[in-house]
């Protein structure tokens, strides 16, 4: 990617994000009343994260099998109540394990 393109994208991303935080912080008083829009905004982080994760995690590593295995072990670790870092480590170790096994079987 060209440097100029990078900075155009960066400016748009950082600019929009900054304005979203700053404008209401300076201008608005009073709570958002609508129960519908409050609920909508409550769901957004979870739906964004899940849409970004699946199926992208399958393509995040060199092998599809390792990606699927990482999703499964990460979900299981989360269900057991493990925190962010532990779940991330479990996912990474799964990929290492699957890749290692594949190397041994070759």
């Amino acid at each position: 990617m060209e440097l100029k393109t990078y900075f155009e994208y960066l400016l748009v991303m950082a600019g929009v994000t900054y304005l979203l935080r700053t404008v209401p912080f300076i201008l608005l008083k009073g709570e958002l009343e609508s129960r519908f829009w409050k609920s909508f905004l409550n769901y957004v982080p979870y739906t964004v994260l899940s849409a970004m994760t699946v199926p992208a995690i399958f393509y995040a590593t060199d092998s599809r099998v390792a990606g699927v295995a990482a999703l499964v072990t990460a979900v299981v670790a989360s269900l057991f109540g493990r925190g962010l870092v532990v779940v991330a480590i479990v996912a990474c170790l799964t990929v290492l394990g699957v890749d290692g096994a594949a190397l041994l079987l070759q």
């Binding site: 994000t17 009073g30 409050k38 994260l49 996912a91 890749d99």
Partner: protein
């Protein structure tokens, strides 16, 4: 409220941010081939999901600036909601100029901590609160991007799923404890598969696909299962 108390309160957030943005740094470094450019994204944005979606749009051949603007808008819209409620909570001395300088500190975690204080939040305390998270976030990305360049390929390949692992660790507990969130996530994932594999839909750019998945799933669940309490109150109770 003192600056030093803010710094102390912000420490756990800073450590957590370092870990998450280390994972972001691995992905950003490998997509942008530069640890400087990767770190600059974290220094100017301070938002996990928004940055990651932005990175994908930058890296995809079809990503447009409009897509970037719309994706940033929807993914980060919740910060506006937090900014509105935080503006009720800050001390009168926290004036417009200070708000312009410090508004970048409005993230899910810093916001939740600021709202959980008994007293009115002063600009000094808020600045203290955001210092270590900001350093942790920027430094983590830097460390991750540099490690991505020096570690063996097999390890970097494995670290590529770290950020997804963290996303899973955020989403799964909410799915487990709140049935409507489970439904919202399943709808979003089903749509996400459709955008990947259904012929016409798979031509839609990555950024727009994420926006459509998230907005549709959230709208459906907001209509079917409205939530009574604001997210802010929930995270306060969780503390």
């Amino acid at each position: 409220m003192k600056f030093s108390k803010g710094v102390k309160d912000g420490l756990p957030i800073g450590i957590g941010y370092f870990a998450v943005s280390f994972a972001f740094g691995i992905n950003a470094g490998s997509l942008l081939h530069s640890w400087v450019l990767a770190t600059l994204i974290s220094m100017t944005n301070l938002t996990s999901a928004g940055q990651f979606a932005g990175l994908n749009i930058m890296a995809s051949a079809t990503g447009t600036l409009i897509e970037m603007a719309v994706a940033s808008l929807f993914i980060n819209l919740r910060y506006s909601l937090m900014a509105i409620s935080l503006s009720q909570k800050v001390a009168p001395s926290f004036g417009t100029f200070k708000r312009i300088l410090l508004s970048t500190g409005i993230t899910d975690e810093i916001y939740a901590l600021a709202m959980s204080q008994r007293e009115k939040v002063t600009a000094k305390y808020f600045l203290g609160l955001m210092v270590l998270p900001y350093l942790g976030w920027s430094g983590g990305t830097l460390t991750g991007a540099v490690c991505g360049q020096i570690l063996p390929d097999m390890v970097v390949n494995a670290l590529g799923v770290a950020l997804y692992g963290m996303f899973i660790a955020i989403v799964v507990p909410a799915m487990k404890s709140h049935r409507p969130t489970l439904v919202a996530v399943l709808i979003a994932v089903a749509l996400s598969f459709a955008f990947k594999f259904v012929p016409v839909l798979s031509e839609v750019g990555a950024g727009f696909a994420i926006i459509i998945c998230a907005v549709v799933a959230s709208l459906v669940c907001a209509a079917l299962f409205p939530i009574d309490e604001a997210p802010a109150k929930k995270s306060q109770e969780a503390r």
